[in-house]
């Protein structure tokens, strides 16, 4: 049953229409619009734009070089439906690896009254026993000031609240700190020295 081929009578189907040629599909038909051959999502593909489709070495070279060109100039990616072929329950289930770490964690630092902000990498202080102390030292150097009655350090957490530096364990601080703020003047005095 399987594997036998029944030859369709040539007068049943329009033989000419089904006859295989090496020409482009649609080249014989007189309709003005030929069907769009590829739905292009990316611009980097091998377009079949050459009018005569000779199976020649030249064609292959063109194909390779156009592919090469397209590698060097990647088009912006649009997400294709159903590609890559991963089932939806798998997409939902794979989270970022626990412990997969970024190499740096820069946060903005502002100082009241200073014209522009700085950025500091919290990761630099990550492996130290005295993360907070080292961080404060770093900030003092960066802004050329001394923590004391005039200055207090605070940070903005994930919820957008302004928190005094030093209340929580370092790891928790690292996970929740979005930016640092060095406060000056009456606000600072209200907070007193930092909790550290």
């Amino acid at each position: 049953m399987e594997g036998t081929h029944h030859h369709v009578q040539s007068d049943d189907l329009n033989f000419k229409a089904t006859e295989l040629r090496l020409g482009l599909p649609g080249t014989e038909i007189t309709t003005s619009s030929s069907p769009k051959i590829i739905i292009n999502i990316n611009n980097n593909n091998n377009k079949r734009s050459s009018p005569d489709n000779n199976e020649s070495e030249e064609e292959d070279d063109n194909r390779v070089s156009s592919a090469a060109k397209s590698i060097t100039a990647p088009a912006p990616k649009a997400q294709i439906v159903g590609w890559p072929p991963v089932r939806s329950y798998r997409k939902n289930n794979t989270a970022v690896v626990v412990g997969e770490e970024k190499k740096t964690e820069y946060v903005k630092v502002s100082m009241d009254g200073a014209p522009f902000l700085r950025k500091i990498d919290l990761k630099l202080y990550n492996n130290n026993k005295n993360g907070y102390t080292e961080l404060l030292n770093g900030l003092e150097k960066m802004f050329n000031f001394k923590i004391g009655s005039e200055y207090a350090t605070a940070y903005e957490d994930k919820d957008g609240d302004l928190m005094l530096l030093g209340d929580v364990p370092w790891d928790m601080f690292m996970a929740t700190c979005k930016r640092l703020r060095i406060m000056k003047g009456s606000d600072a005095r209200g907070l007193g020295a930092s909790a550290v």
Binding site: M1, E2, G3, T4, H5, H6, H7, V8, D12, L13, N14, A17, T18, E19, L20, R21, L22, L24, P25, G26, I29, T31, S33, P35, K36, I37, I38, I39, I41, N42, N45, N46, R48, N53, R63, V64, A67, A68, I71, K77, Q79, V81, G82, W83, P84, P85, V86, R87, S88, Y89, R90, K91, N93, T94, A95, V96, V97, V98, G99, E100
Partner: protein
């Protein structure tokens, strides 16, 4: 017929024939063998629910005890089949509730199952034993409650990868206290928490329980309670594998695992806390199947685990394993037959892990029994594919997904034709192939020439012209299922090979260049095929004949056109010239 055996003898002989192929062959010998065989066929497999009607099946096989059936096309897994397409099992259950009161098993894949269906099943078949719903949808936990409550002799309830509307975990508590027959329970796809005490009691009163796959909501701290009550388990799916790191939890878990002397398969492993992995060390050497495809742990932890599993035959894992991990697998798991590596970040633009073609090459070199591969990666070379093909000529299933479409050999920038060509040329027993990367018509020439045992082929973003499709349809003698997306294949190859389609289960083509005109021609001239156009832009005859259809699904059938097509599916054998009239006629029925 003076020399023929009495019926009973023939029936007894036929009872040793298990495969459909053998039974079908036997029924062709003569009319009396046909008759005897059809009365004693107990298992029916229907690969496409629309290829035949319930009435025809029931008429021919009046004493069926087990039904296995598949509905939607495979590409439905990747959202290429719109919601509401079909695959409803309800009409089958209705018919069988009358015809097969002694039905024991129903196994469905990619079908729509409703709560009403489940209730009907639970009440119609007094001896119902096995329900497997693989990648199904349409039902809620209420339907599960009916099954639990009413099926007195339930042995298997397996919901693998189905989409269940999770109303509550209360369904599990519907298993009556006198239900002690459970052998297999797979609830891994469910979201909500079941009553742990109900689960514990169920496990405790099921002495034959061999397979238990929990859902994510079952906490790790409680796993040991279950294991201690079911040390006979052969397959276990954990819940979330995370808990606060505590020594008592750890020692309980270790003890519980070491009591399970028969465990062969492990899965689950959501949210893994690596500190708890050593708790399962005692079972590693006995494992033949390990499914870590949800375990988001790093290569080093994966290596520690996998290298202890020296008898592993099947490994499913995320690409966190990296090339280095696969090298370790190649060195330790000499019995490995099947490897599946899934992408942890399929939509990321840049690779997030160091997994390349090299990992697969290592495994192909180190694992002499490897015959089944599913591999997602971001780069591939012809050289690697040729090496893999030469290493493993006994390959049966080879599915390679290079994440970016149309990506060439990263070393030579050539298409991957040669590589895949080597696969089909060397692996003469290859039954299933999925390809990706940059591919021209040439690869299809290789496939048509060499892939004589190929039964299923999946193609995406490949080929240059109709020649490609023609090579496949004219050359692949054993082809049963062909699924194609985003390829420049059109009318000529399809129409020239129309007869081939009657020898196959189905053909799927989406985002290709098949015109409405060609689909009509195919549908009208091939009465034993259902040629269905799926197009969400509206009726195909509102566009020019030459306009390509969005999606085409062609399958052989003896059941005629289906009567449950939604508004975006058209059967091409209908008369489009009087489209409006025929539509009204249908509505009138």
């Amino acid at each position: 017929m003076a020399y023929s055996f009495p019926e009973e003898v023939l029936e007894h002989v036929f009872s040793f024939l298990k495969t459909d192929k053998d039974r079908n062959a036997v029924s062709l010998v003569c009319r009396s063998w046909y008759e005897i065989e059809r009365w004693c066929r107990r298992r029916v497999f229907i690969g496409n629910c629309y290829s035949v009607s319930p009435e025809i099946v029931i008429r021919r096989f009046p004493e069926v005890r087990a039904l296995e059936m598949k509905g939607k096309p495979h590409f439905a897994d990747f959202n290429l089949v719109p919601e509401g397409w079909g695959g409803y099992v309800y009409p089958w259950i209705v018919a069988m509730s009358v015809a097969y009161p002694f039905l024991e098993e129903i196994k469905l894949k990619r079908m729509v199952v409703t709560d009403d269906t489940l209730e009907l099943i639970s009440k119609s078949f007094k001896n119902f034993k096995v329900l497997v719903l693989s990648s199904c949808e349409g039902f809620t936990t209420d339907g599960l409650a009916s099954i639990a409550a009413n099926c007195r002799n339930l042995r298997d309830l397996d919901l693998r990868e189905s989409e269940v509307e999770d109303l509550s975990g209360h369904w599990l508590s519907h298993f009556p206290d006198n239900c002690t027959s459970l052998v297999s329970l797979n609830m891994s796809c469910l979201g909500s928490e079941v009553s742990f005490s109900a689960l514990e009691r169920l496990v405790a009163r099921s002495p034959n329980l061999k397979t238990l796959r929990l859902n994510r909501a079952v906490p790790l701290e409680k796993l040991s309670n279950l294991l201690l009550r079911a040390p006979q388990l052969v397959e276990l799916g954990t819940g979330a594998y995370s808990a606060e790191v505590r020594s008592d939890t750890f020692s309980n878990l270790t003890e519980a695992f070491s009591a399970c002397k028969h465990l062969k398969g492990l899965s689950g492993f959501w949210d893994v806390v690596p500190a708890y992995l050593p708790a399962m060390s005692s079972v590693c050497s006995g494992l033949t199947w390990l499914n870590l495809s949800y375990a988001t742990i790093q290569s080093s932890d994966l290596i520690k685990l996998v290298t202890q599993c020296r008898n592993l035959q099947r490994l499913w894992v995320l690409d966190y394993i990296e090339d280095s991990g696969l090298e370790a697998v190649a060195a330790s798991c000499k019995d490995l037959q099947e490897l599946r590596v899934f992408p942890s970040d399929p939509f990321g633009a840049e690779p997030n892990v160091s997994l390349t073609e090299q990992g697969l090459v290592s495994v192909s070199e180190g694992c002499p029994k490897l015959h089944s591969v599913l591999y997602f990666c971001r780069q591939m070379s012809n050289a690697a594919l040729v090496t893999i093909a030469r290493n493993r000529p006994k390959m049966i299933r080879f599915r390679l997904c290079i994440i970016e479409p149309r990506v060439p050999d990263y070393l030579t920038l050539e298409p991957l034709d040669t590589g895949f060509g080597a696969i089909v040329e060397n692996c003469k027993e290859l039954r299933r192939l999925s390809m990706s990367g940059l591919l021209t018509d040439r690869v299809f020439e290789y496939i048509g020439t060499h892939a004589k045992k190929l039964e299923m082929l999946s193609i995406a973003f490949a080929g240059d012209s109709d020649l490609g499709l023609h090579h496949v349809l004219s050359g692949c003698e054993s082809l049963r299922k062909l699924e194609i997306r985003d390829c420049p294949f059109g009318d000529k190859a399809l129409l020239a090979n129309a007869a081939k389609l009657e020898t196959m289960r189905s053909l799927w083509m989406s985002s290709c260049s098949v015109s409405f005109g060609a689909c009509k021609l195919l549908g009208q001239k091939m009465p034993r095929l259902n040629v269905e156009v799926i197009d969400e832009r509206g009726p195909p005859n509102t566009r020019p004949e030459s306009c390509p259809v969005e999606r085409l699904y062609v399958y052989r059938t003896v059941g005629g056109r289906r009567d449950d097509m939604p508004g975006f599916v058209w059967n091409m054998d209908q008369d489009f010239s009087t489209f409006r009239d025929s539509q009204e006629q249908e509505n009138g029925n």
